[in-house]
């Protein structure tokens, strides 16, 4: 007997829950051949605000986890993606990637998570320091996570680039509010489902889908976002730089015009972890 088709309603993952946009708006995405695939939530500035509230709530608990535990959880996220690699590759192929390229992107995404999982309890040893001073004091430099990081992902490599921006931020105990690719948002929808089963506390990573031009200015001006990590064009860079100056936040803006090889080893680094850290230097008397 013929079954009725059961189609999925894509929802975004915010604050540990799967939600529609508060505006109830959606936009259609198509497969590579132009056929209708699904309606994706068109998130608004209010959704972004709510996601920041969720990230703020989750932040202190995530930053207090031991570095070792954060590493375990990042590794677990890698496991969850690995287990659904085929489904994720299909999502990437909606944008026209060949099966081989899609499989390569998923594998590289998992590897990237494992890379940063390894760094969680090691970056402090490399970036922190006991500084030489000419007096009987210890002088320590230690790192601290910044807080809530805004991520704006590019259209190319819709999964790998997104993870390459998110993973180094959460490695050190930051939380993230990320805007996925507008043209290929479906991998981010699937990623939300994997985040939900990865032991990552709800609210640590919040994924939004929607249009950049509606959300860029709020990313720029929201004072609770401590840094922006984004791949953006010249006009967007200007808007982000102006807003960030007003709200005193750090920006790490990669040019959308440049060619980025997200598969390369150069797309993962200790430097990427360092971009979302603040450094604190303290003096302490020797022997006291």
């Amino acid at each position: 007997m013929a079954r009725l088709p059961i189609t999925k309603t894509p929802k975004v993952y915010v604050g540990g829950a799967f939600i529609r946009s508060e505006s109830a708006r959606v936009f259609p995405i198509t497969g590579f051949a132009g056929e209708f695939f699904a309606n994706i939530p068109q998130c608004t500035r209010k959704d972004l605000r709510n996601a920041v509230e969720a990230a703020a709530k989750a932040g202190p608990g995530w930053a207090k986890r031991t570095a070792y535990n954060r590493g375990q959880i990042l590794y677990r996220l890698g496991e969850m993606i690995e287990a659904r690699a085929g489904e994720m590759a299909d999502a990437i192929m909606l944008g026209g990637a060949t099966p081989a390229a899609a499989a390569r992107e998923v594998a590289a995404t998992v590897d990237r998570l494992i890379y940063y999982a390894g760094w969680t309890d090691k970056y402090e040893q490399v970036l922190g320091n006991v500084n030489p001073v000419a007096a009987p004091y210890f002088n320590f430099t230690v790192t601290e996570p910044m807080g809530i990081i805004g991520v704006i992902a590019p259209d190319e490599a819709p999964l790998l680039a997104l993870i390459s921006l998110i993973a180094p931020a959460i490695t050190s105990g930051n939380t993230v509010v990320a805007l996925a690719s507008s043209t290929q948002p479906y991998p981010a929808i699937l990623l939300g489902e994997m985040l939900a089963t990865s032991d990552l506390p709800g609210g640590v990573v919040n994924l939004l889908t929607g249009f950049r031009k509606e959300l860029i200015s709020t990313f720029a001006t929201h004072t609770h976002l401590r840094a922006i990590s984004a791949v953006v064009n010249a006009e967007e860079r200007k808007a982000l730089a102006l807003g960030a100056a007003d709200s005193v936040k750090r920006t790490h803006l990669r040019k959308a015009e440049d060619k980025h090889d997200w598969l390369a080893d150069s797309a993962q680094s200790l430097e990427a972890i360092r971009e979302t850290l603040e450094f604190k230097t303290t003096w302490h008397p020797v022997g006291a």
């Binding site: 605000r49 920041v52 703020a56 932040g59 202190p60 930053a63 807080g147 809530i148 709020t218 001006t221 929201h222 004072t223 609770h224 807003g243 007003d246 709200s247």
Partner: protein
């Protein structure tokens, strides 16, 4: 012969003052959040809500210094350029009244409210409670927040409960009285309405009825706020006496406060939209009101740690 059980006494009271359609109230208040309040009307609402705040600190760890800084905040909630009004009152324990008076001075529009009568339980002899009220008034309290005798109410001893309120009214002198029903311990909307009427019959025009102490699990909700507003409306229509209202506990966000104001506007009308007739008992609400006003002014969402008292730094 009249049955003498508490249930029978309550039933006679319900017959007299009317009972509450619980489903109807819950359905009605669920709609209040859907009103669209934007731009100028939102700014007006936020400022109105700020002027209605009873800025509260009721903790065992309160010190004269903490009360003094609370009073400073009551007088000047934020940068004057933002135009946030002074709050209606500060609300403190009786032992802190004299410190609040010293911090505020005599010549101020900000009133001092004090929770007398063995707050929050009320479980001490009446004589002791009355002495506490008199001491707070003597120290400079303008308003007294008392708790009703819930035990007497639930046992059906309504005249005992009313006599105690009347005695506190006497002890207050010129001070305004707020009668805390502690709705979470009254359990049903019918009981809340009945207790509201019992209280309103013995207090003076301009005195308040108040939802809760903030010290129990369930505090002010739109539902019990609505039941009390409707009791005030019905009492006013029957007697011409205007009683004021104060929800307290659990109102933390500006959005919640605006929704409560919608309830007041649509149930009692503009005559109750001022701080002589409506108050919010809250400690952190003012921060969020200021935060939202700043957002309306600048257009940028604000981090909570830019405003006082939000201690978390994340």
């Amino acid at each position: 012969m009249l049955a003498r059980s508490p249930q029978a006494a309550l039933q006679r009271l319900f017959d007299e003052v009317g009972s509450v359609d619980q489903i109807g109230v819950d359905e009605r208040v669920a709609k209040y959040g859907t009103r669209s309040i934007k731009k100028a009307s939102k700014i007006q609402g936020l400022k109105l809500a700020a002027s209605m705040v009873d800025l509260t600190t009721l903790e065992g760890k309160d010190t004269p210094g903490k009360v003094a800084s609370l009073c400073q905040k009551a007088l000047a909630p934020h940068d004057p350029e933002l135009g946030v009004p002074q709050v209606a009152a500060v609300c403190v324990y009786p032992a802190m009244v004299k410190h609040a008076r010293r911090a505020l001075g005599r010549d101020t529009a900000v009133r001092i409210a004090s929770v007398a009568t063995a707050f929050p339980s009320g479980q001490v002899p009446l004589k002791t409670r009355l002495a506490e009220v008199k001491a707070a008034v003597a120290d400079g309290a303008d308003e007294i927040d008392m708790v009703i005798n819930r035990g007497a109410f639930l046992a059906g001893e309504f005249s005992e409960m009313q006599d105690e309120i009347a005695a506190v009214v006497q002890a207050c002198g010129d001070a305004t009285l707020k009668v805390i029903l502690e709705v979470s311990e009254l359990e049903t909307y019918d009981n809340i309405r009945a207790a509201s009427f019992l209280a309103m019959r013995v207090i003076r025009p301009g005195d308040f009825i108040k939802t809760s102490t903030g010290k129990t699990s369930l505090n002010a909700t739109l539902g019990n706020n609505q039941v009390m507003l409707e009791a005030i409306r019905d009492f006013y229509l029957a007697t011409g006496v205007a009683i004021a209202m104060k929800p307290a506990g659990g109102i933390r966000t500006a959005k919640q406060a605006l929704t409560f104001l919608v309830a007041v506007k649509e149930t009692l009308g503009d005559a109750w939209l001022n701080n002589r007739r409506y108050r919010f008992g809250a400690s952190s609400l003012l921060n969020d009101l200021v935060r939202q006003l700043e957002k309306e002014k600048t257009g940028a969402y604000q981090a909570p740690y830019y405003f006082s008292e939000a201690a978390e730094s994340y």
